[in-house]
C-alpha cells in the first residue's frame, strides 16, 4: 500500500512540475509588469511632489496634469478605468531608484530624456510628452532682462540631481561667470529660498518656472528671461527589460497625440467608429487588431481617448487653462507648426 502511495506522489509531483512549466512559458509572452498590474488592479505611477500643470494634487488628493494623464491613459488601456492609478510623489533624487527597484512601473515626472539616463541606469524612455528648455527667473526690480547681464558672484537656486544642475554649470562656464549654486531636494524649498532672497536667480525648465511662479508670494514681481539654455525633452520612463510594457506606455502616449491629429476627442470618439478613414477607425478600435500584440483587447485606445482625451485636450485642461503656458510653442502638432510628431498606429 505504502509502496504505491510513494509512486503516486512522485507522479503527481511530476505532473505538477510539467504543468507549471507550460503555464510559465505561455505567460512569458505576456508582459510581467502588465500581468502584475492587472492582478493588483491599479497602475503604479511615479509623479512629482507638486508641479502645477504636470503633476499636482489638489486638497482632496486628486492628481492632475499632463504627466498624470499619461499614467491615466495606461490605466484606461490596461485596466479599463483611468482612475485606477496609484500615484507616488517622488523627489528628483528618488525617482530613478523607485523605478529600477520596482516600486513604481511608470515614471511620469517631467524627466529629461538624455543618453546617459537611457543607456546607463536600467531605464528606457518611451517618448516625449513635453518639449521644454531650461531658463532663468529673476526679480523684475533687478532690472535684468537677459542672461547676458549676469555678473560674477550671482547665486542660483535649483533642484538637486537634475539635468538643470549640469546645464547651469555648462552655461555659466561658457560665459566665464563665477556663480554660487544652491541646490535643494524639494522644488518647494527652492521656491522658498528664491522667494526669500537667498538666490538672485532661479533656474529650471521653463515650464517649471512658469508653474512655480504661481507659488511665489508676489508672482508679478518676477520674470522669466527669454533665453533658453538647453534642450529638455520631458517624457515618461519605464524599467528596462519589459519590452511589451514599454510598448504599451509608448503607444498610450502616441495614441493621445495621434488622436488630436485626427480630431478625435473624448466627446466624439464613439461616433468616430463609423468614420470613413481607416486610420481613425484603427485609433478607436473599429478596425485591425491593434491590441493583440500587447495582450490587450481591441478597444484599449478608444478607452484612452474617451476617458483621458487627446493630447490637445490634456494640454488645454492642465497647462493652457491654468494660465501656466497658454501658448503651446513647440508642443503643437507638426501639422500646426509645432514638433509633435508620432509614428502611425497601424
Amino acid at each position: 500500500m505504502f509502496k504505491y502511495l510513494k509512486q503516486l506522489t512522485s507522479l503527481v509531483a511530476m505532473v505538477a512540475v510539467l504543468f507549471t512549466f507550460t503555464t510559465e512559458t505561455m505567460a512569458a509572452k505576456k508582459s510581467k509588469t502588465l500581468k502584475n498590474t492587472q492582478k493588483k488592479g491599479f497602475v503604479r505611477c511615479g509623479v512629482s511632489q507638486g508641479l502645477p500643470g504636470f503633476s499636482n494634487a489638489d486638497a482632496a488628493g486628486n492628481w492632475t496634469g499632463v504627466d498624470v494623464d499619461v499614467c491615466r491613459a495606461v490605466a484606461a488601456a490596461v485596466l479599463g478605468d483611468a482612475n485606477k492609478v496609484k500615484f507616488t510623489p517622488l523627489s528628483a533624487k528618488e525617482r530613478f531608484t523607485a523605478l529600477t527597484s520596482g516600486e513604481i512601473d511608470i515614471l511620469s515626472r517631467n524627466t529629461t530624456w538624455t543618453l546617459s539616463r537611457d543607456a546607463d541606469i536600467g531605464l528606457t524612455f518611451v517618448g516625449v510628452n513635453f518639449y521644454d528648455g531650461q531658463g532663468f527667473m529673476v526679480r523684475k526690480s533687478s532690472g535684468i532682462t537677459s542672461t547676458s547681464q549676469f555678473k560674477n558672484g550671482i547665486s542660483a537656486c535649483t533642484n538637486l540631481g537634475t539635468t538643470t544642475e549640469l546645464n547651469m554649470r555648462d552655461f555659466f562656464n561658457s560665459k566665464g561667470i563665477s556663480y554660487e549654486p544652491v541646490t535643494f531636494e524639494k522644488a518647494d524649498e527652492v521656491v522658498a529660498a528664491y522667494d526669500a532672497g537667498r538666490c538672485d536667480t532661479y533656474t529650471t525648465d521653463k515650464s517649471g518656472l512658469a508653474a512655480q511662479r504661481i507659488k511665489l508670494s508676489n508672482p508679478d514681481e518676477h520674470v522669466v528671461l527669454p533665453e533658453t539654455i538647453s534642450k529638455e525633452p520631458l517624457g515618461p520612463v519605464v524599467r528596462q527589460g519589459d519590452a511589451v510594457w514599454e510598448d504599451i506606455v509608448r503607444w498610450s502616449l502616441n495614441t493621445m497625440i495621434e488622436a488630436e491629429e485626427y480630431g478625435i476627442t473624448s466627446a466624439n470618439a464613439d461616433s468616430m467608429k463609423t468614420s470613413d478613414n481607416p486610420a481613425i477607425k484603427r485609433l478607436v478600435g473599429a478596425e485591425g487588431e491593434m491590441g493583440a500584440a500587447f495582450g490587450l483587447d481591441n478597444e484599449w485606445n478608444l478607452r484612452i481617448i474617451k476617458q483621458v482625451g487627446n493630447y490637445g485636450e490634456s494640454y488645454k485642461r492642465n497647462i493652457a487653462d491654468t494660465g501656466i503656458l497658454p501658448d503651446r510653442g513647440p508642443n503643437e502638432l507638426w501639422t500646426k507648426g509645432g514638433i509633435l510628431y508620432v509614428p502611425p498606429s497601424r
Binding site: R117, S155, L166, N173
Partner: protein
C-alpha cells in the same frame, strides 16, 4: 560532549542563517541588476563630475572627478562635525556646571535650556534655524555691519579674510612655542618632585606662545593684512559681498542646530559625572588642605571625567551622524553632494550608498578609537 552540541548548535544555525540572508540579498541584487542592464563597478569615480558645489574646502569645480566631489562632501561633513563638536562641548560643559549652580536663576535657566532643546526633534530645529530664523536676515544691501567688518545677511555671514605672507614661518613659530611649553612643563614637574619648588608654568607658557609668533612678525618677515568684504552690485536690486570670507547660511544653520541640540546631552553627561563623584572625596580633599580650585582640578575632575567620557563619545558620534541632515537644507555635505547629486547623475545607487555608509562607519570608528584612547589614558591605573 552533549553540552558542546547544545552550545554550538544554535550558534552554527545563526551564523548559517546570517550568511544565507546576506547571500540571498547579494544574489537577488545581482540577478535583478543584470536583468535591468545596470552594471556594477566603481570606475565612475574617476569620471568627470560636471556639476559644481556651492562650498568647498579644497579646490573643486565640475571638471574634477566624482572622487574629488566625494572628498569635497566628506571634508564638508568633517568641517561641520568638528565645529559642532567643539561648540557643543564648550556649551555642554558650561550648561552642565550651571545646572549644579546654587544660584536659582542660573540653575533653572540651564535646566530650561536642556529640557527645551533636548525634546524637540533635531530636524525641526534645523528647519527653524534655516527656514525661519536665518530667512528673516536682511538682504546684502540692507545689512548693518558689526564693527564695520562683519556682515550677517540672508546670503551668509561675511567676515574679513586673513591675507598672510610667509604663513609657514608663523606656523613653525607656533609649533616651536608649543614644543618649548611641553619642555618647560616636564622640567617644572621634575623640579617640583626633586626640590619641592614650584615654577609658574602658566605665565611662562603664555609668554612663550606670545613671544615666538611676535618674533616671527618682527624678524621672520611674516605679515598679516585683512581683506574686508565689500558690497558689490550685480543688478539694480541685486547685491552680494565680494572679497573676505563668506560662510553660507546653510553652514551656520547646521552648526547652530547640531551644537545647540547635542550640547544638552553633553551638559547632562557633565552633570552626571560631577554628581557621580562621592561627597566624601571632596570632603577628604578639603580636609587635607587643598584649595577649592585644587579640589576640583586634582580630585573631582579626574574622577568625573571617567564618568563623562564614554557617554560623551556617544554624543560626538551622534553629532557626526546627524550632520547628514544637511541634505535637508542644501549644505553640501557628503549626503547631498555624493549620495545626492553624484548618485543621481551616475545612477550607481548601490556603489555610492555603500561608499557613503562605509565613510560614516569609518568616521564613527575613528572618533570612538580616539575617545577610547583618551578614556584609557585617564582611567584608574591600578598598580
Amino acid at each position: 560532549m552533549n553540552f558542546k552540541v547544545k552550545d554550538l548548535g544554535p550558534q552554527l544555525i545563526t551564523v548559517l542563517a546570517v550568511v544565507l540572508i546576506f547571500g540571498f540579498f547579494t544574489y537577488n541584487a545581482q540577478v535583478n541588476m543584470e536583468n535591468r542592464g545596470i552594471d556594477f563597478g566603481y570606475g565612475f569615480l574617476s569620471q568627470e563630475a560636471s556639476f559644481d558645489v556651492q562650498f568647498s574646502l579644497i579646490e573643486y569645480d565640475g571638471s574634477h572627478s566624482y572622487f574629488r566631489a566625494y572628498l569635497v562632501g566628506l571634508l564638508n561633513t568633517i568641517l561641520v562635525s568638528v565645529i559642532g563638536i567643539f561648540l557643543a562641548t564648550i556649551l555642554g560643559i558650561i550648561v552642565g556646571i550651571a545646572r549644579l549652580s546654587s544660584n536659582y536663576l542660573i540653575n533653572k535657566f540651564a535646566a530650561f535650556y536642556v529640557e527645551f532643546f533636548r525634546n524637540i526633534p533635531l530636524l525641526l530645529q534645523l528647519f527653524f534655524w534655516y527656514f525661519a530664523a536665518l530667512r528673516t536676515l536682511p538682504l546684502p544691501q540692507e545689512a548693518e555691519s558689526t564693527f564695520g567688518v562683519f556682515f550677517l545677511t540672508i546670503k551668509g555671514l561675511y567676515v574679513p579674510a586673513f591675507i598672510w605672507e610667509n604663513f609657514s614661518i608663523f606656523f613653525y613659530s607656533l609649533v616651536a612655542a608649543f614644543i618649548s611649553v611641553i619642555f618647560i612643563k616636564t622640567y617644572a614637574k621634575k623640579v617640583q618632585e626633586s626640590q619641592g619648588k614650584q615654577i609658574p608654568v602658566l605665565f611662562i607658557s603664555i609668554g612663550l606662545i606670545l613671544i615666538f609668533p611676535l618674533l616671527s612678525f618682527l624678524i621672520g618677515g611674516v605679515s598679516l593684512s585683512f581683506e574686508i568684504p565689500k558690497l558689490k552690485q550685480l543688478a539694480t536690486t541685486s547685491f552680494v559681498f565680494d572679497g573676505g570670507l563668506s560662510l553660507p547660511p546653510e553652514l551656520i544653520a547646521l552648526t547652530l542646530a547640531l551644537s545647540l541640540y547635542t550640547a544638552t546631552f553633553i551638559a547632562e553627561c557633565v552633570r552626571a559625572g560631577v554628581q557621580g563623584v562621592g561627597k566624601g572625596q571632596k570632603e577628604a580633599a578639603a580636609s587635607i588642605g587643598l584649595t577649592p580650585n585644587q579640589v576640583l582640578k586634582l580630585v573631582v575632575m579626574p574622577q568625573a571625567l571617567r564618568i563623562i567620557i564614554p557617554p560623551t563619545t556617544n554624543q560626538y558620534l551622534n553629532l557626526t551622524k546627524n550632520s547628514s541632515l544637511a541634505a535637508a537644507i542644501a549644505y553640501p555635505d557628503i549626503v547631498l553632494v555624493f549620495a545626492g547629486t553624484a548618485l543621481m547623475q551616475t545612477g550607481k545607487a548601490i556603489e555610492i550608498v555603500s561608499i557613503t555608509m562605509f565613510t560614516y562607519l569609518s568616521l564613527s570608528i575613528s572618533i570612538s578609537v580616539l575617545m577610547n584612547w583618551y578614556n584609557k589614558r585617564i582611567a584608574i591605573k591600578e598598580k
